[in-house]
């Protein structure tokens, strides 16, 4: 189910993902809009988020196997080493089979904008952790 090389993938992009991105961008300050680019067989979303005090630049990659496989989100702005942060500043957002709806990726319900909202929540947690040393959300179960 290649995102950019099958009819299913292209239709998903045109009828679900692109309208969702355009809706997200609508009325948003230009600096905070999502930009979309094709990189090989993947799509790259780049954007800026400011959950509390600091702005962060991020990129979310939709792999060829998206939406079956969840998007990967990386923070480009340098971060301190913290919980839920994987190699290359990829943030840990999903846990397959999690009982918490917001901690598992559901390709039947979520668009790439859900990944951006999840990244916003992660960054808000990061800022709280930075101040208090405590990650405010429990582990996904």
């Amino acid at each position: 189910m290649g995102l950019l090389d099958t009819e299913f993938g292209k239709r998903r992009l045109l009828s679900v993902e692109v309208p969702a991105i355009e809706k997200y961008n609508e009325g948003r300050d230009a600096a905070f809009k999502v930009a979309l680019a094709r990189v090989g067989g993947t799509l790259l979303l780049t954007y800026l988020l400011k959950p509390c005090h600091n702005p962060y630049r991020l990129e979310t990659r939709l792999l060829s196997s998206y939406p079956t496989v969840p998007p990967e989100t990386r923070v480009l702005t340098p971060l301190k080493h913290c919980p839920h942060l994987l190699e290359g500043q990829t943030i840990c957002l999903w846990r397959q089979g999690s009982m918490r709806a917001s901690s598992r990726w559901d390709p039947a319900k979520f668009t790439c904008i859900f990944a951006i909202q999840a990244a916003w929540r992660w960054l808000a947690c990061y800022e709280i952790w930075h101040e208090t040393g405590e990650w405010p959300l429990p582990e996904a179960k």
Binding site: M1, K10, L14, V69, M99
Partner: protein
């Protein structure tokens, strides 16, 4: 009748063996990319001396020894490979029923997409981690897709209740094995149920049967008592999961464009959103 099966692992081979022995089955298209490994031996039909050979070839040999009149066409490939979708579509179009016996999500979604496009019924078997039970699903062209079913079931089922939390203090460390292997007996129980459900698909509608008999459904069969998960072993639960109107996998997509028009529309969307 013609079967299109993906997967000939420890569960898939049980389903394949049972189907191939049914006199109605005359042709099987089998997709299986893997090589038989040492860790497969204690749960599979084949001996240690078969390690290193393709599972597809081993499965073909197994069937030919028992049903030489059945034509088996093996294809060593990944069902999710976008470059081979035309070949897979042909197999889906000419089959009478599909069998999905894989354990990874991209492959299940890929098979679901093929079978929905071909308008053919199909079945799926899933053994839960640790062999505590399993799911068997029957899908019909007008019913819920795998996305609808997986989305619905994830609300209710913990497949790995005792999985340890990841070690975030050392994110680059090796990740411990998350799935607890199931026993051959547990795999065999769920796979046999899977085979039965598939054979039901090949039967003509029973006279006086209800319309509901032709619809899709899911069966959960427990094999162990697990506190907080299953109250009892050996219980069945049958679900008729509704098709989700809001499902982003199978809800009808606007028939706005096709072929090259689709590419042009995508190029335009990328140009429109390419600002930075």
């Amino acid at each position: 009748m013609r079967i299109f099966q993906v997967g000939a692992g420890s569960g898939g081979i049980v389903v394949l063996d049972a189907l191939a022995r049914d006199p109605r089955v005359t042709h099987i298209d089998l997709i299986e990319p893997d090589v038989y490994s040492l860790h497969n031996v204690y749960r599979h039909l084949f001996p240690e001396s078969a390690v290193g050979r393709l599972k597809a070839d081993l499965a073909v040999g197994w069937i030919r020894e028992r049903r030489p009149d059945v034509t088996v066409d093996p294809f060593v490939a990944d069902i999710a490979d976008p470059l081979l979708q035309d070949r897979f579509e042909e197999m889906a179009d000419r089959c009478d029923a599909g069998v999905c016996a894989v354990d990874n999500e991209p492959a299940k979604f890929a098979f679901d997409s093929l079978m929905r496009n071909s308008g053919k019924p199909w079945t799926l078997g899933e053994v839960l981690s640790g062999g505590i039970g399993g799911w068997v699903h029957r899908f019909t062209p007008d019913g819920p897709c795998y996305g609808c079913v997986a989305s619905y079931l994830q609300r209710n089922v913990a497949e790995e209740p005792n999985r340890p939390p990841p070690d975030y203090s050392n994110p680059d460390a090796a990740i411990p094995e998350a799935r607890i292997p199931a026993s051959k007996a547990a795999i065999g129980a769920i796979a046999s149920l899977h085979a039965n459900l598939t054979l039901d698909l090949l039967a003509p509608p029973s006279p006086g049967g209800t319309e509901a008999e032709g619809l899709g459904f899911s069966i959960l069969f427990t094999l162990a008592r697990v506190p907080g998960v299953f109250d009892d072993a050996y219980r069945t639960f049958r679900f008729r999961i509704p098709k989700s109107e809001a499902c982003l996998i199978c809800s009808s997509l606007p028939p706005s464009a096709a072929g090259e028009d689709l590419d042009a529309a995508l190029d335009q969307a990328l140009a429109r959103l390419g600002h930075d």
